[in-house]
């Protein structure tokens, strides 16, 4: 009798066990899922990447910085006026002329800080600067924008016969900017950048011209394919002298273009009324007007070289 009870107990115990397993089995699919989710659920908000493809759009610097030990080499070109008195067929719609050529190097000291050097044909400007990505946009909008700041010193080294540049400090310019950028979707990014430009000698050298110019620029990109997008770039210098001057007349720089990324290279092909490429020049001195045919073809080639050491050997567990 004892034996029978023992076996019965054992059987019921076993049966109960099977039942328990059965119910467990039925719920495991979701249990495994929810357990997996709870394990990976603790991920923090990721920083948003690739707000812009390159460090420049057309006129503006973007919020992007060059990553550590990477070198960005840029060639930026602006041709001559397409229309107006300087354009037309006699200059092959501006292609015979170049209003500015910039050659630039940007090197990433850290992932967020780069040191930059540029040389422009326009005013023979040499520039040395730093650009720092202060804050990154977060995927959960705990930080809705990326903030990048840049500071730059410009020097106009050319030889002059007049006494305008007698004091060497008059050759110097300074440019400071804060860039607020937001990637609204994978296709659309926009940025707004207040900036301050100081020319120790007012440029162009005219009576009443400002040494200090505050400005606000806005730029955006709308991608229409994974690798191509339309870019628009505008800057507004706040200067009553510029607004009221009739000879020369000043205009606000505006550029539109197409950006093409090929994996390593980023090209922009653009049109702008601004002759100069550097903000030190174009904020102070844009005398060309879209409505008079004084816009030009331009392009930017940006190529990043990576100096991080390559993996040695194969990857093993």
């Amino acid at each position: 009798m004892k034996k029978i009870i023992f076996i019965a107990l054992l059987l019921t115990a076993g049966y109960g066990n099977v039942n328990a397993q059965k119910t467990k089995k039925d719920t495991t699919a979701s249990a495994t899922d929810s357990l997996l989710n709870s394990l990976s659920g603790d991920d923090k908000a990721e920083p948003v990447i690739a707000t812009f493809k390159a460090t420049r759009l057309i006129l503006s610097e973007t919020s992007e910085t060059i990553k550590k030990n990477n070198l960005n080499f840029m060639v930026i070109h602006r041709f001559g006026d397409i229309g107006g008195t300087d354009g037309g067929s006699k200059t092959l719609w501006g292609l015979d002329n170049s209003s500015d050529i910039l050659i630039g190097f940007e090197y990433g000291l850290t992932n967020n800080l780069d040191v930059d050097f540029y040389r422009s044909k326009y005013e023979q400007l040499l520039e040395l600067g730093l650009k720092y990505n202060l804050v990154k946009q977060k995927s959960d909008d705990s930080m809705p924008v990326a903030i990048t700041v840049l500071a730059r010193a410009g020097l106009k080294p050319y030889k002059v016969e007049t006494n305008v540049y007698d004091d060497y400090a008059n050759r110097l310019s300074y440019f400071y900017q804060a860039i607020f950028a937001r990637k609204f979707s994978s296709a659309f990014s926009m940025q707004i950048a207040p900036s301050f430009l100081r020319n120790n000698l007012p440029f162009p050298y005219l009576a009443g011209n400002d040494k200090n110019i505050f400005s606000l620029s806005a730029a955006g990109r709308l991608k229409f394919s994974k690798r191509m997008g339309i870019v628009v770039d505008y800057a507004h210098p706040f200067s009553s002298f510029r607004r009221n001057s009739n000879s020369p007349k000043f205009y606000n720089p505006l550029g539109v273009g197409i950006e093409i990324e090929t994996g390593g290279h980023v090209f922009t092909i653009n049109f702008s009324n601004s002759q100069a490429i550097s903000p030190i020049n174009y904020l102070a001195d844009t005398e060309s007007n879209w409505t008079k045919g004084q816009y030009r073809l331009g392009f930017t080639i940006s190529r990043v070289f990576d100096f991080n050491s390559k993996h040695k050997g194969t990857n093993k567990y």
């Binding site: 357990l35 991080n308 567990y317």
Partner: protein, 181 residues
């Protein structure tokens, strides 16, 4: 009769040696692709996995953003252009071990896991080979398999086709700990 009871109890006991749920929070996932211009290589230590030793169910997940490349541009392109990691943040595999071996004894057991591989938002039925190692109650797993880009709708633009191979080798390794609620 006593003997039967003892054997039964002993059998139940051994059967429970490696049972229940095991988890891994730092599974290593690496991808590798040999390409004419440069090899592509990235590693993540942030994979997570759940293994139910009772039922043989196995689930893996790795955040795409956690894969670290030697070249930062490559990492950005990988996330932005190829994997679209803002839209598809994780790659997952959910499956069940076919013919679950007896894991009560220490040893290495080759297994096949049938399930669904979800990469870039495209689900594929796959049977992936792997190895389970049991050593003094500790469970670990290893697996290596190929993922064809076109199977998961990962576009390789013609402009850069020479840089990316059409198939990526994926290696996964995970050490598990028993899950305690």
């Amino acid at each position: 009769m006593k003997y039967i009871a003892i054997i039964l109890i002993a059998w139940l006991g051994t059967n429970h040696a490696i049972q229940g749920t095991f988890v891994s929070k730092n599974a290593k996932v690496s991808i590798y692709s040999k390409a004419p211009l440069e090899d592509i290589e990235a590693t993540s230590q942030k994979g997570t996995s759940v293994f139910n030793a009772t039922t043989g169910e196995l689930a893996f997940s790795v955040p795409i953003r956690s894969l670290v490349f030697e070249k930062s541009m490559m990492q950005e392109h990988f996330n932005e252009n190829y994997m679209e990691s803002d839209k598809f943040p994780n790659a997952t595999f959910k499956g069940k071990i076919q013919q679950l071996p007896d894991l009560s004894k220490d040893g290495t057991y080759p297994v096949n896991v049938a399930g669904v591989l979800d990469v870039h938002g495209v689900k594929q039925n796959r049977t992936i080979p792997g190895k389970i190692t049991v050593s003094q109650g500790a469970v670990s797993m290893l697996s290596e398999f190929q993922v064809a880009c076109k199977d998961h709708n990962i576009e390789i633009p013609t402009l850069v086709f020479k840089k990316i191979a059409e198939s990526i080798r994926v290696q996964v390794s995970a050490a598990y700990t028993p899950y305690q609620k």
